[in-house]
Symmetry: C2
Subunit: 466 residues, 2 copies
């Protein structure tokens, strides 16, 4: 007969205790393969439990294949080959990944949380929770909640001069996510032209998606048209409103040349990443290429992770009609990746004008932060040995240093002093001498004290004194 210890005071039900006990005896081969198990009734009597309890335990063992049954003969132990369990809990895995912290971080775009209207956002979220019915918990359409798409279309009309139908918009959890979908939509034969220098992550995404791309040098007006024409690429991925990291604005004639290029062969598209066009401290952002494209050849992308808060993972793309139809036909099985709560909350945030007000506050703050760092540079003896390259937009400017030190040495020595900073050369696919010795200074989170410390340290490293 089976030896089973049942604990009637345990929160685990008796049938599960019995199941576990028999299972473990089978695994440990304490019960011989093909041996007959006691009948339900006999075992129930023996253990002083109900037949139903034994029945449930046997049913579970049968379901999982630890025992088998023969009609009118009863239940038999199955033969388990090569069963080895972990001996005790596995040693906890601790990854070597950690996020470093520095005294001064001029690399990460630390968002100015102090300006974010936390209480407004929370109030809108509470309103969303109160006023919405159960539809809040329902499945979201593949391209996002209609109300948010309408709000985005209106915003694009009012602030970017774009005529967009809400049906052309796809909402997704971050621009990187949307890039991945776009790469699938445009197919494996697409060949992408990206800007060199340019945003590293774009390159990393194309690389990890295994698609073909060419990094095309930029001149002072943007991507070089002669090299683009010779590249064999059919998709060009650009940020004409504000190039990263050079800060260039692509002028109207280069934009028109890009439209000529896109219209001169079938299957060509422009991906226009308008990611921080809102943050221009003097004047306004140029109208997007999308707004002057009459043949529907521009895919427009933007994100609220930058304009609202990094923790709000909502981006969107505006697809030309023909691509939207293709998306519907081939890819609308992908569920929308943003929860409905946040979509409704963001829709309210836009509809009620909070987004506009917030962006204006952020612009004032950005301008002040920029002045703070510029002032620290001017006051420092470094100013005689460095040149600021600034475009009064975004959240960084460039600082070209007069030094023979390599960029690697420079960043390493700054890191030793707890200062994190990137060099322009890190964003180049092909190394170019004119981009050497140029720091990218992201000022969005910097304090006066940090700016002073940074200046002292860099002067010390470069042996600059008054």
């Amino acid at each position: 007969m089976l030896t089973v210890n049942l604990d009637r005071n345990s929160p685990t039900s008796l049938y599960l205790q019995l199941y576990e006990s028999v299972k473990n005896q089978i695994i440990r081969k304490e019960l011989a393969p093909d041996s007959l198990l006691p009948s339900k009734r006999t075992l129930a009597m023996h253990l002083g439990i109900s037949v139903k309890t034994v029945e449930n335990a046997y049913a579970q063992l049968l379901l999982e294949g630890y025992i088998y049954s023969k009609e009118k003969r009863g239940f038999f132990v199955n033969t388990l080959e090569d069963y080895r369990t972990r001996k005790g809990p596995a040693p906890a895995y601790v990854s070597h990944y950690k996020e470093d912290s520095y005294l001064v971080d001029l690399k990460s775009n630390k968002h100015a949380l102090s300006e974010f209207p936390v209480s407004t956002w929370c109030r809108l979220m509470r309103e969303t929770l109160s006023y919405q019915d159960a539809s809040l918990f329902d499945t979201v359409p593949f391209h996002g909640v209609a109300r948010l798409r309408v709000a985005i279309a209106q915003y694009l009309h009012d602030f970017r001069g774009m005529d967009v139908s809400p049906d052309q918009i796809i909402v997704g959890a971050g621009t990187e996510y949307l890039y991945t979908r776009l790469i699938q939509l445009l197919g494996p034969d697409a060949r992408y032209a990206i800007e060199d220098p340019g945003y590293n992550r774009i390159r990393a995404i194309y690389k990890s998606n295994g698609v073909s791309y060419a990094a095309i040098p930029v001149d002072s007006d943007g991507i070089r048209m002669d090299l683009l024409a010779d590249s064999g690429c059919n998709i060009v991925h650009i940020s004409p409103a504000h190039h990263f990291p050079l800060g260039l604005v692509t002028p109207i004639n280069r934009r028109l040349e890009l439209l000529q290029w896109v219209n001169s062969a079938p299957g060509r598209y422009i991906i226009e990443d308008d990611y921080d066009s809102e943050y221009r401290y003097r004047g306004i952002a140029a109208a997007p290429i999308y707004s002057i494209d009459i043949r529907s050849k521009v895919i427009y992308m933007n994100t609220f992770s930058k304009s609202v808060a990094p923790a709000v993972r909502i981006s969107y793309m505006v697809l030309p009609e023909i691509l939207m139809e293709k998306y519907i036909a081939t890819m609308n099985f992908y569920s929308c990746t943003v929860s409905s709560f946040e979509q409704y909350t963001l829709a309210s945030f836009i509809e009620k004008g909070h987004l506009e007000r917030y962006i204006n506050r952020m612009k004032r703050r950005g301008a002040a932060q920029r002045d703070l760092l510029l002032h620290a540079i001017e006051q420092s003896p470094l100013s005689a040995h460095a040149r600021v390259l600034d475009d009064t937009a975004g959240s960084h400017f460039l600082l070209k240093l007069d030094t023979r030190m390599t960029d690697a040495e420079l960043t390493t020595r700054l890191k030793e002093r707890q200062i994190l900073v990137s060099c322009l050369s890190e964003f180049c696919e092909h190394s170019m001498p004119e981009y050497a010795s140029t720091l990218i200074l992201n000022y969005s989170g910097i304090t006066e004290k940090q700016a002073k410390y940074f200046m002292e340290q860099i002067c010390d490293i470069l042996s600059v004194s008054r």
Copy 2:
């Protein structure tokens, strides 16, 4: 001199009105290319505005390349080639995409919203908003908020018998999103074995990601090992706890065979999709293969979109250490796709036992819904011409019909009567006669009235009467 009409009562600033006016005159070629613009001072006098206003307008025109400057000579109109603007707003695009609605929907897994603890969820969200500081709006680590990953690891330990480190978990916006990342992680040379029949969307995802896969027939124990061995695949993607749509549970010996297979050559992995293992109405879900794998060859995936609510887009995968290291080294530039709000709220929902209680409620409801549809079938004359294939789990069962009608005809005729239903054959890569004439009946949202209507209609279509 320039003709410009300025409206001092407009909300648009004077400099933007001036900029727009000059820009449009240049686009319409009313200002000749290379003609000299009036000096700032002259124009300011002429229009009765400040020099600063003209300066700002000219700066914006210069930035966007509509004008150019020559030192000591002034500003000149640029030559714009081939500039055509849309004539008026574009006709609004309305996609043909719409979500159909039916009298009876036995296909979509309409979530039983009535059971979702909306008020609890909202309370937890409000608590999250109140108790969290500004870190709520900070950037989320690439693999998700630590507190949620700890809660998931604890849940897997308590309910699935798994020893998992929070550092092995990657949180993402839906399983489909995580599949895409996993495909990138495993690289372009991976070859995937999927179940046939199996979940259509898995196949669609592999297809749209352009990777190679083989659909391997299943027998009563799960995927066929002889065909898997011969397939040349190195990754097998399975749902051993509950096969869709057949409802099979893979028994222990087939699980051990799968582990033998995965260990018998380098670079092999099992993707174990445990997606609705919680929903078993009799007994419990078998322990995952992950829990008996001693060589870290199992990638475990699960989702809260199924166990919490479709609008909550949170899924996760547990990676073996070696794959996690690879992810950190090559792919951690991808930002986490779930907002921190929802991650903290879900962490509370799990920590406080709400998830467990909710699943228990859903199981009771699922069992009742299943009984409702089974009862309607039993009461109908159809019962003599059909056989229910049920596994007391998940949210559907199969109904094998005694008919010569093709599956396409069957579903079309049901659709004409406003009934949406899928056939098993739709989930087969290779058509197999034994899977014909089999309806997949998803009962999760059905009412008594709908069940009765469905029975009447199908009896009528099949000319079945008492």
